[in-house]
């Protein structure tokens, strides 16, 4: 692994001529790496009296922490919610392909599935460090089945569940052992949810509120029990109402535990959230915004029909919706509130196919925020959500050297994990 005995003897890499947009402690100027970690060059200079063994010129490009995707259901034809014989290869394929999107760590996400699927799949996706083989797996995100029927979205109704009297035991019976699980999305209005939230939290599992009809009070209570995340804000929850803001109201609630930051996922693909809504959320609570892709198996493939767990999905351009719903023959004009994003007549979006770097660029353009903020939303904030900010999502000294090299328009030019080049754009290869 990284660090350890041989670290002091390991080669020192100095990345020069780069712009580090990271207004925090640690790096200012060149990025130094040794033994897979970011190194403090001043310490190296005065204590070890050493210079770099190798210098790499970044061509004046931007250097940022690697992106972290905490909600991704599959991609490139791989569906994490399918109980195939070789789940590992599917995860490995996605892990390798998302390197080109600048993602260095991710949480493979399983949508609502029958228990057999969880029992078969979950043990096959262990936490794993990233490297040339692909982005690191931080743990699984189990989205459902303990969610609201009304707000199930594209999740199959037949497999939804609620907690019985032995709430946490029900959860264990459904999912199996939780060793590989990092995040669980559930609806807090379900009975016995609070004991489940507390139990999951004490086990270090992040509880996220989503696919729910909870009002603000219920959501606040869930946060007091331990919930720290909101799954794809605005989508699959009650809309904001000025007398009961619902889950959305958590962004500005004054009834949360002191010092606790509530994080919220945002799918900034240009489809799931109107840019004005994105801006409202960002302006209300910029520190909690976490960019997620919610990518489905169709990511990286063309238009057409694909699966998502037990559901069929139709992809058209950058939009994915539940297949089989008859499109409105009269087209958008017959829609009372013309939603430009659902021109096919169905309102049930079904995940997204926008890669993470596309989401970052769209987020930057839609909110007009600083480049630093956009990059933090895809790196630092998800790391903070998972309590990993000392080693991931940051360019602080001692952190894992997972970073991306970006051009001025935030297109990924190169991806590094543990200081090793794991992906490079064609143009940059010359």
């Amino acid at each position: 692994m990284r660090g350890g005995q041989g670290a002091a003897e390991a080669r020192v890499l100095q990345f020069t001529n780069c712009r580090i947009l990271w207004a925090r402690a640690g790096v200012c100027g060149d990025l130094w790496v040794r033994g897979g970690r970011i190194l403090d060059p001043e310490k190296l200079f005065f204590e070890e009296r050493r210079v770099a063994d190798e210098r790499r010129d970044c061509g004046g490009r931007i250097l940022a922490p690697g992106f972290i995707d905490v909600q991704i259901n599959g991609g490139f034809g791989v569906d994490f919610s399918q109980a195939t014989e070789d789940v590992g290869s599917g995860v490995a394929l996605v892990a390798r392909r998302i390197l080109s999107h600048g993602v260095t760590s991710f949480c493979p996400t399983l949508v609502t599935s029958p228990p057999e699927v969880y029992h078969k799949v979950v043990p096959q996706i262990p936490v794993k460090s990233g490297g040339p083989h692909g982005a690191g797996v931080l743990g699984l995100h189990l989205e459902g089945p303990f969610i609201s029927r009304e707000k199930r979205g594209a999740h199959p109704e037949a497999h939804l569940r609620s907690f019985e009297a032995n709430a946490f035991q029900d959860l264990l019976a459904t999912y199996g052992p939780l060793d590989n699980v990092r995040i669980v999305t559930l609806a807090p209005e379900l009975g016995h949810s609070h004991e489940v939230i507390r139990e999951l939290t004490t086990r270090g599992i992040c509880v996220s509120l989503g696919h729910s009809v909870a009002d603000l009070r219920a959501a606040e209570d869930a946060v007091w029990s331990g919930a720290t995340f909101i799954t794809h804000l605005f989508n699959a929850m009650l809309p904001f109402h000025h007398r009961d803001p619902g889950i959305v109201g958590l962004l500005t609630s004054d009834r949360l535990p002191a010092g606790r930051c509530i994080f919220y996922g945002m799918i900034a693909d240009g489809t799931h959230t109107n840019p004005a809504a994105l801006r409202i959320a960002h302006r209300a609570h910029p520190q909690g915004l976490v960019l997620v892709t919610d990518a489905i198996p169709a990511l990286g493939l063309g238009n057409g029909r694909h699966t998502l767990g037990q559901q069929e999905v139709e992809v058209d351009g950058l939009t994915a919706y539940v297949a089989g719903e008859r499109p409105d023959p009269l087209g958008p004009r017959s829609q009372p509130a013309a939603c430009p994003l659902c021109s096919q007549g169905t309102k049930t979006l079904s995940g997204s196919i926008a890669p993470m770097d596309v989401c970052v660029r769209h987020f930057l353009q839609a909110t007009g925020c600083s480049v630093e903020s956009a990059l933090e939303a895809a790196s630092l904030h998800p790391a903070q959500l998972l309590g990993l900010e000392k080693s991931k999502g940051t360019l602080d000294f001692g952190a894992d050297a997972d970073f991306v090299v970006l051009d001025d328009s935030l297109h990924v030019q190169a991806t590094y994990i543990s200081g090793e080049l794991v992906w490079q754009a064609e143009a940059a290869r010359q």
Binding site: G29, D30, P41, E42, F45, F46, E48, R49, R50, V51
Partner: protein, 274 residues
């Protein structure tokens, strides 16, 4: 001595940096012959350091065969404290140039035996063949390095207690809190700097004007330790207009006179052909 008067801080910084650059280039250092440079800290030399970094980045100057000896360091301040002189040198100079860490020497204010550390520093200077050019600044109380008023003019590297004037002047680097400012420092002695083959003192700003007056128009006096350099064979004072405010008009006119009047055989005229 030579007194070089430039209009503004930026020009004074540039003149000083060019002087250092040219001296190094003319010396033609190599693996058997290092150029030994004494260096200061503080706000005065910042402009000069920026220019030197620029010359390195342009390819006009390399510090590969340069050895640097800093004048001083606080006692008891952690090396990685943002206000330590180690941090200052790293952030403002070393990290931007091609100097090898083994060729940099800064006193260790956290050494177990402070006087032994000071003695060892003197030995290191001797081992390096003495200082070719010592660059320094001046405190508002006329001190060179931390040789506070009352310091022996033949002193060597040692521990010094800082004067109130110095602590007050440094408080701005410690959030204005006097209690946070270190009260002791390790410093090269007046004698140590006098041993250098050449000395260049940078003095800019009106708040240094009185000290400059005391240093060059009054006598040699241990209350204004920079005055010791009146007895050094090769000293250059580089200042801006504001720093000359307390000098006699006659002094300023003399040193600002055109080259043919007083620059006999000297290649350091005000426009120095650069």
């Amino acid at each position: 001595m030579k007194l070089i008067i430039l209009d503004h801080y930026s020009q004074a910084s540039e003149w000083a940096a060019k002087y250092i650059r040219n001296r190094i280039i003319q010396f033609n250092p190599g693996p058997e012959k290092y150029f030994t440079l004494g260096l200061p800290t503080g706000s005065t030399p910042l402009g000069c350091y920026k220019k030197l970094i620029e010359y390195y980045k342009n390819g006009d100057l390399s510090f590969k065969y340069v050895k640097t000896f800093n004048m001083d360091e606080y006692v008891g301040l952690p090396r990685d404290h943002p206000e330590s002189y180690h941090s200052f040198m790293w952030n403002n100079f070393f990290k931007h140039i091609d100097i090898h860490p083994e060729n940099t020497y800064i006193l260790d204010g956290n050494a177990a035996d402070l006087q032994a550390e000071c003695d060892a520093f003197e030995e290191k200077i001797k081992a390096a063949g003495g200082i070719e050019l010592f660059v320094g600044g001046i405190g508002p109380d006329g001190h060179i390095a931390f040789n506070e008023p009352g310091s022996s003019l033949v002193s060597r590297t040692r521990v010094k207690t800082l004067a109130m004037d110095t602590i007050l002047a440094n408080a701005r680097f410690f959030d204005g809190e006097l209690t946070k400012v270190p009260t002791m420092a390790l410093t090269v002695g007046v004698g140590t700097v006098m041993d250098a083959r050449e000395v260049m003192i940078l003095i800019t700003g009106a708040h240094k004007a009185f000290a400059l007056y005391k240093a060059i128009e009054e006598g040699v006096n241990h209350m204004w330790t920079v005055s010791a350099f009146q007895q050094h064979p090769r000293t250059v004072f580089v200042c801006d207009e504001d720093a000359t405010l307390e000098l006699k008009v006659k002094t300023v006119k003399y040193f600002k006179a055109p080259p043919q009047v007083n620059r006999k055989g000297c290649i350091y005229s005000t426009n120095f052909g650069m």
